[in-house]
Amino acid sequence: MMAGSVALPLMLGGYVGGACLALVAPSSRAARYITALGAIVGSVAALAVAARVLVTAQPLVLTVPNVLAAAGGLVLSVDPLGAFFLAVVALGSLPAAIYGVSYTAAYEGRSSLQFFGLMFNVFLLGMSVVACAGNIFTFVLAWELMSLASYFLVMTEADVVETREAGLWYIAMTQFSLVTLLPMFLLLAPGAERTAFADLRVGAAHLTPQLRGIVFLLAVVGFGSKAGVVPLHVWLPRAHPAAPSHVSALMSGVMIKLGIYGVIRVAFDLMNGGPPWWGGLLLVVGSVSALLGVLYALMEHDLKRLLAYHSVENIGIIIIGLGAGAILHSYGLQTLATIGFAAALYHTLNHACFKGLLFLAAGNVVHRTHTRNMEEMGGLIKQMPQTALLFLIGSAAIAALPPLNGFASEWMVFQALLAGTSIPRPEVALGFPVAVGMLALASGLAAACFVKAFGISFLAMPRSAHAADAREAPASMRVAAWMLAGACILLGVGASVVVPALYRVLESVGGLVVDPQLAPAPGLWIEAPRALGHLSPVLIAALLASIVLVTVVTVHRVHRRPLRLSDTWGCGRIAQTPRMEYTASAFAEPLRRVFAELYRPTQDLTVSVHPDSPHFVQSITFTSEVRPWFEEVLYDPIVRAGRLIGVGVRRLQTGSVHLYLVYVVAALMAALASVWWWP
């Protein structure tokens, strides 16, 4: 009891202290260390809070009623679901904080690190409190702290035009999210005085089915735009590359997961789940996000944008799990539904680890090569062996290769989808195989994409002077990434321990009924009920390890032969230059042709020849772009309309004080009239 009651204030204190002290730090160097110290204290305390709540399954409550008492005051109430997401936040924050110490050194003299430290800690505070919030006021306050602080973090390199554009997209999307979330909460709240989540649960029970549907739609749109589901994903590929790498790791690994948290909290905890179309909507949104995310990722040659699109894909996978769970739940198949929800939670945790790891490893590369363009990297495995290994572990995890964590959770998502055959309505059950197909295609393409990302960036010969001169990243950056790599391996191998723990978390979600049979003592196997399948990551890991061991022993001990080392056979080629290498564009070209309908690629080939003879080519310029028709179709009209309205409204603002006085009087009259008319 003591540990918990101390840890929660310690967490808040760590973040707030880190934020305030960083702001008054005497030098940039001091600011870097103070920022990290505050964040480390905060996240370790957050881990302690989460661990305590998860172990005891007792909610931990902290109230500060005096802050804005009219709105209900600050209420922190950590239940197991919140604790799970708090753990995800802390698991991402701790390595990011350590990583930031060295990474932000590059910004010294370029942007204010004191301000950065303030915003970094406020961002972490906001994310942690979102997971702990116990009433609407606390939730919305933390949500806005998180959103605004992350906006300022994205704008760290505000001297770059692209960053400013990315910031604009991000702030617009994040405020759009708030605009939909506020009415959602207002609809849920039974009265102005009763805004605690417990009251909302009561309020939700009295809503008509139509209103519940509207609340659900608002939640999907509002939380979905934060989570980055298609078509609300447009800010991710802009904001993630623009932000410093450890901030990208946090935004992509952790912040977007809070959108998932919101959907689970509102739809399944506060409203106890709903009709089948809720799950159907989630399944469709998830499948489309998963497939489109990975398809756009394949076309990206900017390492961090590629990772950002993969976040869209993985959010899609998580939502597929949620959707499958929700449909099964609405047909009363509680045991199978639990698998879907557990798969979603598991993939949430796993994605936080491997996406964080990939962004940190990509950050190492960007830090040393000063470019995000994969076509200018290459050969980094020789200069940065550890970073290469880290990136490889992350790639294998995100490509769902056993025995890493991505494999275990995608396996569970598949199990939840295969369980769809138990649904009594064939027209609903038919949607599941389609989702299986889309998810399978997405996972296959994800593997192809990471073959590209790793192969082009780290293998072969350096394609630019920057890549040739790259050195291994500083120790603190490597240590931070190794922490996440270790988590990836542990979460994968220890899946049979993690999954029962996730069932325990789901027990706390109001609308779900968890079959006690589902949570057996942790053993070697993860079982899916009704003998759909079972999996033992431990045994797979042991098998893989033994294969490697046998090979090594055979080669080096048993089959002893004198070795003669020579060059790789290159067909007798005399000189090889980086220009002969396979490029990322070339690797993705076949898929670009297959999916040309989606990409609508534009090509521009300019050949300039010698003025005297067309046979002497002087230069060839090839540019090709994938048309973002999503934005053209969906967002451009909105932007144009907004601009039109803006131009119209500008006419009101003439600069004449007299006219403004007329406006004031008119507004006053209108207000009085309205009071008189509708008493």
Partner: protein
């Protein structure tokens, strides 16, 4: 339809295979025996054109035609020196091919044989002293056996390969 009518109209245009070349079969059998004792499996040959006029290549190609058909005696040409037991090098070594030839030799796993084919490979023939020529094959990589002729006939080449294998006092690969 046009195709079938054409086949019907034209009929067979290949000449009938002549009487079997008894000598080729004899040499082939001997090769087969020797290859089996030396390697216990087929002999894989990688042909390297180090700058030849392609006369020797024509004759080497003849080894795979229906008359000689060397594959029946357990010899075949492979596409990479990594798979080869024997290099068959033709032509004077040109400047452009000097390093690739060395690399090919280096890439061929031990134990290996090198057979140079044609007069040019021995003495550079009419290309001797050309600015583009480095020298005979033996000046670039060690050669086991040389097959004379401009170009040597397929039978000569078979004899040369047999000679290279016979001359070798190497036992099957385990000793090396």
């Amino acid at each position: 339809m046009q195709l079938f009518s054409k086949i019907w109209r034209v009929g067979l245009v290949t000449e009938p295979v002549g009487p079997t070349d008894v000598e080729a079969v004899e040499i082939g059998r001997a090769l087969d025996q020797r290859i089996k004792t030396l390697f216990g499996r087929a002999l894989a040959i990688r042909e390297v054109d180090a700058g030849s006029c392609n006369g020797c290549e024509l004759e080497i190609t003849g080894l795979t035609n229906p008359i000689y058909d060397m594959e029946r005696f357990g010899m075949h040409f492979v596409a990479s020196p990594r798979h080869a037991d024997m290099l068959l090098v033709t032509g004077p070594v040109t400047r452009n091919m000097e390093i690739p030839l060395r690399k090919t030799y280096d890439a061929t796993p031990d134990p290996k044989f090198v057979v140079s084919v044609g007069d040019c490979a021995k003495s550079c023939g009419v290309f001797a002293d050309s600015y583009a020529v480095v020298g005979p094959v033996a000046s670039v990589i060690p050669v086991d056996v040389h097959i004379a002729g401009c170009p040597p006939e397929p039978l000569d080449i078979l004899r040369g390969i047999l000679h290279a294998l016979d001359r070798s006092d190497r036992q099957p690969q385990a000793t090396r």
